[in-house]
């Protein structure tokens, strides 16, 4: 703010001095030139008071005329000079100042200052997001609907503009700036005590890398989450301790393989990392058998690597095998039926169209479907602009890097317990996952759940602590009951209980809670809001536990405890 003010003041020096000097000359003349009285006799010149009055209305082009009385000819001659002098000075100064206010460099400084002030005023933990392209805006929508604050940097002013128009509940500070410059990251609050982590999502690997380096050097304790497009960048990032590096192709390959191996696990993952309130997705059930993969670039390699691990037989079609290092594959682009037939598309169960050209991918998939309509089609979509084409074609899965990245980051950001949960459920089989899925589906009525965690310590769970202090056993069930009607259950499911180092998946409602426990829930937002009541309001909690209203004040509670003791004797 102050910088802007100084900049304006400094540049205003010349026009202001010009204005003062022209007023001085005009005033002096007015007070020296003799006037004339009502009878036409010479009269003394104007005094300063009237001279200032006349010059003021002349300079601003208001022009009341010859006030207070008729001027002498000499005064009229001087007034002519005054008009040209002061009007020009006035217009020049005003024009200059208006120009100054529209100066791009000044506006940039002003925007930067406003942004920095907004960031420093933040009073809740926030994530610093570098790059708000497709992935960034998806992630921000999800964070926003989970009530988590973000601060955004993007190099493209258009994208920042779109962000300002976007429908967000929270006020998200955004700035057009190059995230690869450390100073911009600092302005965006990297050194802010409430900064919860830095997320690099730009489409430039170098910029992401520099965000990771800056974060790890300036705030080593903060988590740095980065998107990477190539394996080299990913290993480079991991080498200096970047907490999570996500390569969209690898993640997609992993998930496709997971969907082949265990559709239930895959569906759980999709549901728990989606944007709350969106409709739930249907399970993906890729068939086991022979698959044809077209394109052996970075995407094709990731897919073949992961699908081979779950025992799928693969035939690779590649136009330039010598360039991509693909031995024993069928040469061709896959867009023509001949190559596809050579690859055995008629006996295959699935096809992956994974070249870096959207139109080719569509053409491959359409040709393949014509030969074999039962095929499971996986399409790689490179450009967002082609979404309508891909929707029209209705492939079994579209691989869209932005969506995948957003999901993956969200699962990491929501709560550390969620990624623990995903790790733990790997040990269980598909049938187990199906049971959980049907439970979630029953509770949630077809919309993506909120996922939240509770830590039983500190001010947020005051009531629980007091109850434990009083010696009342607190069972998990109390947190799943509805505070307005104890017999009804809240629309939420406890997923994980973490006590010290032991982790219990799907804890039973009868579990006794202890101080320091951490719980992971999924459910409706409404359920979460109601649950909070029981956590910090002692009366609500004791109603949930016992069905009775507890005595409110400390004195009454003490008396009741004494009464209990006496009854025991």
């Amino acid at each position: 703010m102050h910088n802007t003010l100084f900049l304006i003041l400094r540049r205003m020096r010349t026009p202001l001095i010009f204005l003062i000097l022209s007023y001085t000359i005009a005033l002096l003349g007015m007070t020296l030139i003799p006037g004339v009285d009502a009878q036409g006799r010479p009269a003394p010149p104007m005094d300063f008071f009237h001279a200032f009055y006349v010059v003021s209305y002349t300079a601003t082009t208001i022009g009341f005329g010859e006030v207070p009385g008729a001027f002498s000819e000499a005064q009229r001659a001087w007034t002519t000079v005054v008009i040209y002098l002061t009007v020009i000075a006035w217009l020049y100064s005003i024009g200059f100042i208006l120009n100054l206010l529209q100066d791009p460099s000044l506006l940039r400084v002003a925007r930067g200052n406003r942004f920095a002030a907004k960031v420093s005023r933040l009073r809740q933990p926030f994530y610093l997001i570098a790059g708000c392209g497709e992935t960034g805006s998806l992630l921000m929508h999800a964070l926003d609907s989970r009530n988590q604050q973000a601060v955004v940097l993007d190099i493209d002013p258009d994208r920042v503009g779109t962000l300002e128009l976007g429908q967000y509940q929270l006020d998200i500070p955004a700035l057009t700036a190059d995230a690869s410059l450390p100073e911009n990251l600092l302005i965006a609050g990297l050194d802010h005590p409430l900064c919860a982590g830095a997320i690099a999502l730009t489409n430039d690997d170098r910029a992401n890398l520099s965000v990771a380096v800056t974060t790890k050097l300036l705030r080593p304790e903060l988590p740095a989450l980065c998107r990477a497009d190539s394996l080299e960048t990913a290993t480079n990032m991991a080498s200096f301790g970047t907490d999570e590096v996500i390569i969209a192709f690898e993640v997609f390959g992993e998930h496709l393989a997971l969907a082949v191996k265990s559709p239930g696990h895959h569906l759980l993952y999709e549901w728990l990392t989606g944007v709350p309130g969106d409709p739930l997705t249907d399970p993906l059930e890729p068939p086991v058998g022979k698959w044809v993969v077209c394109g052996y670039g970075r995407f094709g390699k990731a897919i073949t690597h992961h699908l081979k691990q779950v025992g799928i037989e693969l035939v690779v079609v590649e136009a330039t095998p010598e360039k991509t290092g693909c031995d024993n594959c069928i040469v061709g682009s896959g867009t023509e039926a001949r190559t596809l037939l050579e690859a055995g598309i008629d006996q295959a169960v699935g096809i992956v169209a994974g070249t870096d050209d959207d139109i080719n991918n569509l053409s491959i998939a359409m040709t393949a479907r014509e030969i074999n309509p039962e095929l499971f089609t996986v399409l790689r979509q490179n450009r967002h602009a082609n979404t309508s084409l891909f929707q029209r074609f209705q492939p079994s899965v579209t691989m869209q890097p932005s969506g995948i990245l957003a999901h993956e980051f969200l699962s990491l950001l929501t709560t550390p317990l969620l990624s623990r949960f995903f790790n733990l459920i790997r040990a269980h089989d598909d049938a187990w996952a199906d049971v959980l899925i049907s439970r979630i589906a029953a509770v949630l009525e077809n919309s993506v759940p909120e996922v939240w965690d509770i830590k039983l310590s500190g001010g947020q769970t005051e009531a629980i602590r007091e109850a434990m202090h009083d010696g009342t056993p607190v069972v998990l069930q109390a947190l799943i009951r509805n505070p307005t009607d104890r017999d009804a259950e809240l629309a939420c499911i406890p997923l994980l209980l973490k006590r010290g180092e032991t982790e219990t998946l799907m804890p039973e409602p009868t579990t006794l809670l202890q101080e320091g426990d951490r719980l992971l829930f999924c459910g409706k937002r409404q359920a979460r809001n109601l649950q909070v009541l029981g956590l910090y309001n002692f009366n609500v909690l004791s109603y949930l536990l016992t069905g009775k209203d507890a005595p409110g004040g400390k004195v009454w509670r003490l008396l009741e405890r004494l009464g209990k003791k006496r009854a025991a004797f």
């Binding site: 003041l9 540049r11 205003m12 005094d47 300063f48």
Partner: protein, 127 residues
């Protein structure tokens, strides 16, 4: 030698001397205090103020502040003059003259402070 510094010093010292010239004399005798002196004191003070715009140093900020104080004192004096002579019509009585001059003396104090700071800055400047 820096021309900017010359102009800067010139206006600050001129503002002080004009101000001093105006207040010099009996405090309640209108004949000792000429209107043109007040006029030029105001003009030069305003220019000195504008010249101090945009200084980012601490001493620059105090410079600007003292100049604004001087402007305020002198403009108040001019306003008292104008209202006594033209609005209320009491004319330049000894009472009115005394209050005009004392307001200007206040401005003079601020102007002297400006000059002192100019000197301090010059002494500290070792190049």
């Amino acid at each position: 030698m820096n021309l900017e510094k010359v102009v800067f010093g010139f206006f600050i010292i001129l503002a002080m001397t004009l101000n001093f010239g105006f207040v010099f004399g009996d405090i309640n005798n209108p004949a000792h205090h000429h209107v043109y002196e007040l006029f030029f004191a105001i003009v030069v003070n305003l220019i000195a103020t504008v010249l101090k715009f945009g200084e980012r140093t601490q001493i620059g900020a105090i410079h600007l502040a003292s100049s604004l104080v001087a402007d305020l004192g002198l403009l108040a004096a001019a306003w008292v003059w104008a209202s006594a002579v033209y609005i209320e019509g009491t004319g330049l009585t000894p009472d009115v003259t005394a209050s005009i001059v004392s307001l200007s003396v206040g401005a003079l104090a601020a102007n002297i402070l400006s000059v002192v700071m100019l000197l301090v800055e010059t002494v500290m400047f070792r190049r």
